[in-house]
């Protein structure tokens, strides 16, 4: 109950800040909340916008699957093989913090303008956090869990199912949540520079035309989608972490 109230207060505060910014800077820079929402709903209802949305959804899904599969497998290898993990950790940390936009020309030169460039760009944003979180999750499995499993003479399969997976799952889910957000950002940036379709492309075109209404409407859609997806994943994340904590104590 109280949490719902908190979220309402937060939303009201954000809307108030938005409206105030509008009063301060006028309609040259931004459109007010009500007008933006109307425009967003109108765009979502129009037939011209849906193909762009589907295009972005397609690129994002493929990028996410790629980032998850390769991130998880690399993370597992680096986690279980301690030496390679230690060798790669600072390299990963460095990769995580480089401005990946600067790699964009390279991605475009390799893949050309189009779907594969967006996918590649989304995936390279998402993969690193997934690797890092998975690796840390595996490394931090408490040895006593594995020892207990051995005491019970568990086979490889049941060891994985009853001990290893539950032990690493919470951290991996956190990694997937971060990876999800970054893959979305990567895919959108990819569309803004190197695509002729998709939501990012429509946004870039609106920027070029100085179509403030459309810029604001797309911004609103993206922010709402990202925040909702994150809240959902965060809910799962917290539940899994909580479960792990109660089992651990």
């Amino acid at each position: 109950m109280r949490r719902a109230l908190d979220i309402l207060i937060l939303l009201a505060g954000l809307l108030f800040a938005w409206q105030t910014t509008f009063w301060l800077f006028g309609d040259l820079a931004i459109t007010p909340p009500a007008e933006t929402a109307t425009r967003a709903i109108q765009m979502l209802g129009s037939e011209r916008f849906w193909p762009e949305l589907m295009e972005t959804a397609h690129a994002f899904t493929v990028a996410l699957v790629l980032a998850m599969l390769s991130g998880l497998s690399l993370g597992l290898i680096l986690g279980f093989h301690r030496l390679s993990g230690e060798v790669c950790e600072p390299i990963l940390s460095a990769l995580y913090s480089i401005p990946k936009v600067t790699l964009y020309p390279i991605v475009l030169l390799i893949f050309g303008i189009g779907l594969s460039a967006k996918i590649a760009f989304g995936a390279i944003h998402g993969i690193v956090p997934i690797v890092i979180f998975t690796m840390d999750a595996v490394r931090n499995i408490r040895p006593v869990y594995v020892k207990t499993g051995r005491v019970y003479h568990l086979g490889a399969m049941s060891m994985a199912r009853t001990i290893l997976v539950p032990a690493v799952l919470p951290e991996i889910i956190t990694g997937l949540r971060v990876g999800f957000a970054l893959t979305l950002i990567g895919t959108l940036i990819g569309e803004m520079f190197g695509a002729l379709s998709g939501v990012g492309f429509v946004l870039m075109r609106a920027i070029g035309l100085h179509d403030v209404k459309t810029i604001m409407a797309i911004t609103l859609m993206l922010v709402v989608f990202a925040a909702l997806a994150n809240t959902l994943l965060l809910g799962i994340d917290r539940r899994v972490h909580h479960g792990a904590a109660t089992q651990g104590s």
């Binding site: 940390s93 460095a94 401005p99 030169l109």
Partner: protein, 251 residues
């Protein structure tokens, strides 16, 4: 053990470069796609010696510096304030948790319209990318100060100022430093990405300019410069952070 890991690490990085170098020389990587790393280095040295990029490099670093220092100072102040107001904190919690999942660069065009095509929107982008990492880690650090420390300060009847300076801050230092490290990385990403998207100068602008001019030599030299700069800074901070954390662990 430690030195062996270092040797292996260097070997991994070096073999990566050698692989690209070799593939570029035998033509597996076409020249229009990527020039060999050795040529990038030569082009970079030439670029730096000629001095044509100095103004752009200085501009980018200045903007990052302003964004970063204000993000660290204001982020720390905001974190400390929010920490002392639990009600406000529980309201803002979902905001902090979702912040980095939102592509904040979509706000960049708005700042250009409001402030014009100058350094201000770039600095704001760097600031916005960095500040929340600083707030979150300040909160995190202050949370982890053991309660017994605060009790001890009360036993010794220390005043507020001494409590903060000699007990709270040193105890939270490692986590706050993690915030600084992330703020540095994010400020670089924010400013350079914004320059790349739309601006009139700076490293990101020059990279995109060289790309559209099919000037692969300068483009790769500038990409190499940017990545090398960011990597050196980050690895230094990473090493400091590790040292801080081990020192905290030993105490």
């Amino acid at each position: 053990m430690g030195s062996r890991v270092n040797v292996l690490r260097c070997a991994v990085v070096a073999s990566g470069f050698l692989l690209v170098e070799g593939l570029a020389h035998i033509g597996m990587i076409p020249r229009v796609m990527m020039i060999p790393p050795s040529e990038m280095t030569v082009a970079l040295v030439r670029l730096l010696v000629s001095g044509t990029m100095n103004a752009h490099i200085a501009l980018t670093l200045r903007n990052i510096g302003i964004a970063l220092s204000s993000a660290i100072v204001l982020g720390f102040a905001a974190g400390a304030t929010v920490h002392s107001l639990p009600r406000l904190r529980s309201i803002l919690d979902p905001f902090f948790a979702s912040y980095y999942s939102i592509p904040i660069f979509v706000f960049y065009p708005l700042f250009i319209v409001i402030f014009g095509m100058n350094s201000i929107p770039l600095i704001i982008m760097g600031f916005l990318s960095a500040v929340v990492a600083m707030i979150i880690n300040t909160l995190n650090g202050l949370d982890r100060v053991p309660r017994v420390f605060r009790k001890t300060t009360r036993v010794f009847q220390m005043n507020r100022f001494r409590t903060v300076c000699f007990v709270i801050l040193p105890a939270a230092a490692a986590h706050i430093f993690t915030g600084v490290k992330l703020a540095v990385a994010n400020a670089f990403i924010g400013v350079i990405a914004a320059e790349f998207i739309l601006s009139g100068g700076g490293l990101g602008y020059q990279i995109s300019f060289a790309y559209f001019a099919f000037d692969n030599k300068n483009m790769y030299a500038l990409i190499a410069l940017t990545l090398a700069l960011v990597t050196v800074i980050n690895l230094t901070l990473f090493a400091w952070e590790k040292r801080l954390l081990t020192r905290m662990g030993r105490r």
